[in-house]
């Protein structure tokens, strides 16, 4: 008898048109002291299983079949036991620490309430225990901080509080649903270490649900790979990652950007086992014809001189208008602090850093979305903040285009794909003929690997990866020379990420584009860039050629980042 046994679990979501099977015949076991990883792409049903164990599936989803047993107690359809087990025997950690704590109650109240629900302790003892717990999860000055409200903690600290709550009643099982996805690499490392530590010390069974193969490699003993609600493969983590047997697992593992070397293109295998090849190379001819042949002369294309940006967070029309004026003017944040760099034709420069490092702000400053407080930007020796040469500046702006992070908000949902792509063409070529316009749009949609039929559809009919392709087509429509990619793949699944990265490399090579590639993800940066700038709190820490940076980092922060990034190779 195992500690946790899930047998033949079936969960479905009936909707109007069809019944979505979120999990099908799922079976697995977990022992105390083990960390089990459940990995899969979005929509694979991995979170549903976690919710099913504590019976918190969002309606209209329901368990249609199967059994879930902890220490031989059946949980399914057993409300009495479930209510007793929640919090007491099973602790749950959610993805986003920003939203998982009630903002109106002190940490103290939330902890004590949970403890007193399950354990027979007096208020005083519960308080003592709470402080003990906060210390255990690494919150300093716990006696004082327990009086604070959630919003007074940083993201990482909040996730610690969430974990303290999850372990407060000595549970035997912890389920963590993407516990570090919302956190920076360094904090992610700490939280994962904390979970590993607790597993050992308290002999817990832990289930970690994640999409990140690096996290799986570094923390789990066993792993389950899911796709479309099915377990396609499960087994020992090391074994599965080094030698995946199913096509689905192979496709996942092969798409993960390696952290220890640079590869030219990702070799792609579809989950069905076929090799995916890209043919965009053959399709660029038309585009090159209309753009004219470009050559890279390794000239300086863009130059940033001592750029600084300060955001002062003056809250607009603050709620408190009488007597208590909000005095927030002095809470200015220096998002970008004296940053200078140059970008040469044809190269890909990487900007890497954690949240708040100012990397996206730099992109916005270059594209003109945000005005810097200080400094100058030169594009082809033309100052972009020079008010006199308005016409030339507007023209240069068209040559700088951007690909955004969130494929779900970067396309106007009310526009057909055709209009999304043709709008910039018409804007820059006012007297383009109708035929030419159509041909242009066709060329662009071909090159990003989409069918021409998709032109007559709306963005919501496409998946994230397809939308990102449309986004690329739109960016190319202005005939840009410089393409800024702001975390272009961080919202995508790994296999899709690999496809998009390949596509970006292809069009860069063919169309002689220069790229500024922004990401928090070091392995991705390593694959894409020739040169890398490391940013921290708006300050440039280090600039080096890619391989040089990864092999011989100089700055302490760079060293730290490289050491802490989850590495899939760590166990291979």
């Amino acid at each position: 008898m195992s500690f946790l046994e899930v047998k033949n679990l079936n969960i479905s979501y009936p909707t109007r048109k069809e019944t979505i099977v979120a999990s099908k015949n799922v079976e697995f076991k977990l022992e105390r002291g083990e960390i089990l990883g459940i990995v899969g792409e979005s929509g694979s049903g991995k979170s549903t299983i976690a919710n099913a164990i504590i019976d918190l599936i969002d309606p209209p989803g329901e368990i249609t079949n199967g059994s879930i047993k902890i220490d031989n107690d059946e949980l399914r359809d057993n409300n009495g036991i479930i209510q007793k087990f929640r919090g007491k025997k099973i602790g749950f950690v959610f993805q986003d620490p920003q939203t998982s704590l009630n903002p109106l109650f002190k940490i103290k109240d939330q902890l004590i309430e949970t403890i007193q629900t399950h354990l027979n302790l007096t208020y005083k003892d519960a308080l003592k225990k709470s402080i003990q717990l906060l210390k255990e999860v690494g919150i300093e000055n716990a006696e004082k901080r327990i009086e604070d409200y959630p919003h007074q903690f940083s993201g990482g600290m909040r996730q610690r509080v969430v974990i303290a709550l999850a372990i407060s009643c000595e549970p035997d099982l912890i389920i963590a649903d993407e516990p570090t996805t919302a956190l920076d690499v360094s904090i992610q490392y700490q939280i994962l270490e904390l979970l590993k530590d607790l597993t050992k010390k308290r002999n817990l069974g832990v289930i970690i649900i994640t999409h990140d193969m690096g996290v799986i490699a570094e923390t789990t003993n066993k792993v389950i790979v899911m796709r479309h609600g099915l377990i396609v493969e499960q087994g020992d983590t090391k074994e599965l990652l080094t030698n995946p047997k199913s096509n689905e697992a192979k496709s996942l593992v092969i798409s993960v950007p390696p952290t220890n070397k640079k590869i030219d293109r990702f070799k792609l295998i579809s989950p069905e086992g076929k090799e995916i090849t890209s043919d965009s190379k053959n399709l660029t001819n038309n585009i090159i014809k209309s753009w004219g042949i470009r050559e890279n002369k390794n000239q300086k294309l863009l130059k940033l001189n001592n750029i600084s940006k300060i955001f002062d967070d003056k809250s607009l029309g603050s709620k408190i208008s009488f007597g208590f004026k909000n005095n927030e003017a002095n809470k200015a944040v220096k998002a970008v602090d004296n940053v200078s760099f140059e970008l040469f034709e044809g190269e890909t420069l990487g900007l890497v850093g954690e949240s708040g490092s100012g990397k996206s702000t730099i992109a916005k400053i270059i594209t003109g979305l945000v005005k810097p407080n200080n400094g100058e930007i030169y594009y082809n020796d033309l100052s972009l903040y020079n008010s006199k040469k308005k016409y030339q500046i507007d023209k240069s702006r068209g040559q700088i285009q951007m690909i955004f992070q969130d494929p779900y908000s970067s396309l106007n949902p009310r526009f057909k794909v055709r209009d999304i792509i043709s709008e910039p063409i018409k804007f820059f070529q006012k007297n383009i003929s109708k035929d030419e316009l159509i041909q242009n749009v066709f060329d662009l949609i071909d090159i990003v690997g989409m069918t021409r039929q998709s032109l007559d559809r709306y963005p919501h009919e496409f998946s994230g990866g397809q939308r990102q392709r449309i986004s690329i087509a739109r960016a190319l429509a202005t005939r840009p020379r410089l393409l800024i990619c702001d975390e272009p793949t961080s919202a995508l699944d790994v296999s899709i990420q690999a496809q998009i990265l390949n596509l970006l490399k292809d069009i860069q090579d063919e169309l002689h584009l220069t790229m500024l590639f922004i990401s928090h993800d070091l392995p991705v940066i390593r694959q894409m860039c020739n040169r890398i700038i490391v940013l921290k709190n708006g300050i440039m820490c280090e600039t080096k050629d890619t391989e040089e940076l990864f092999n011989n980092p100089e700055h302490n922060y760079t060293k730290e980042l490289i050491r802490l990034m989850p590495k899939i190779e760590s166990i291979i």
Partner: protein, 307 residues
């Protein structure tokens, strides 16, 4: 052909939700019947109550047809001037609907324009607009309308006022409802403005006017539509309230509210139908619009779309 369109509409989520909600179907049917009746009042109503030739004081206070003393030529009875209740109500609802629609369109144009520009441009302009809406919002619509009407009465002479009354009323109700539109469209604009497709349009170099009205406006129409529907009901109620208070449309062109006001004087003496039927009519009208708006709000709210 018609069936095909029906199937196509049924296939969309909104259409499905509509045809599967009895309340939505019934209320919209009632609303459209009333709307069509009032548009073609001249055809639908058996009498023209404003034609002195067809009205006879002899017929005054005829009760509805099923009561004692009822007359089959006046189904719902007559009022104190001998006008057919049914016909006056149809004509009255026409006035109510005209005022309601006109004022809500006025409020919508003003509010949406100010809201989008405030949300998009920001800065001092936004602060001023939002302060204005705050002030306007704290002044309840009835009070605002009374205020406008009071000023209008003071400026315009009595005889002119009767002629102008309907425009004054439209202006008064419209001016009291625009802040709702401004607030909603500003809030939605702020959300949309931070979406990346707006940034993309800005990077391309599109002008702000184009971004605001070609890109953002279509994306914020849904909440505006909801507000407009609920606002229409509110405008009709406000109009009837003002007319009931005697500061709305002049008695020569009575709206539903005016009719109720007249009838109220006879309530205690037993002629209940003079006030009862217009009141019911008004309630049914307002209720059907409100039900429609309520359904729309739930159907268009992605957060609650769980089943």
């Amino acid at each position: 052909m018609l069936l095909k369109t029906y199937n196509k509409i049924y296939d969309t989520d909104i259409g499905y939700s509509f045809f599967n909600s009895k309340i939505a179907v019934i209320s919209s049917t009632i609303f459209f019947i009333i709307l069509i009746c009032s548009i073609f009042a001249g055809v639908v109503a058996p009498y023209n109550p404003f034609d002195p030739a067809s009205v006879s004081l002899m017929d005054a206070f005829t009760p509805p047809v099923w009561s004692d003393g009822g007359n089959s030529s006046f189904i719902l009875g007559t009022d104190q001037q001998g006008r057919d209740m049914f016909s006056t109500m149809i004509y009255g609802s026409r006035i109510s609907l005209i005022v309601g629609f006109a004022s809500i369109i006025f409020a919508m144009l003003l509010g949406v324009f100010l809201g989008i520009t405030a949300g998009y441009i920001g800065g001092r302009y936004e602060i001023i607009v939002m302060r204005l809406t705050d002030v306007q919002l704290t002044i309840p619509s009835i009070l605002m309308a009374l205020l406008v009407d009071g000023i209008a009465r003071a400026i315009i002479s009595q005889s002119m006022h009767d002629e102008m009354a309907i425009y004054v009323l439209i202006f008064a109700i419209g001016i009291s409802e625009w802040p709702q539109f401004a607030r909603v469209s500003r809030a939605s604009t702020l959300v949309e403005k931070n979406k990346e497709y707006v940034s993309a349009s800005r990077i391309i170099g599109l002008s702000n006017v184009l971004i605001m009205f070609k890109h953002i406006l279509p994306n914020i129409l849904r909440p505006i539509l909801v507000i407009a529907t609920i606002g229409l009901a509110l405008a009709i109620i406000t109009e009837s309230t003002l007319s009931f208070l005697g500061v709305g449309v002049p008695p020569t062109t009575p709206s539903l509210g005016t009719l109720i006001r007249f009838g109220n004087n006879f309530l205690f003496s037993g002629e209940w139908w003079i006030t009862f039927f217009p009141a019911i009519f008004l309630i049914v009208l307002a209720l059907s619009i409100n039900l429609l708006g309520d359904w729309m709000r739930d159907a268009l709210n992605p957060k609650l779309k769980k089943r």
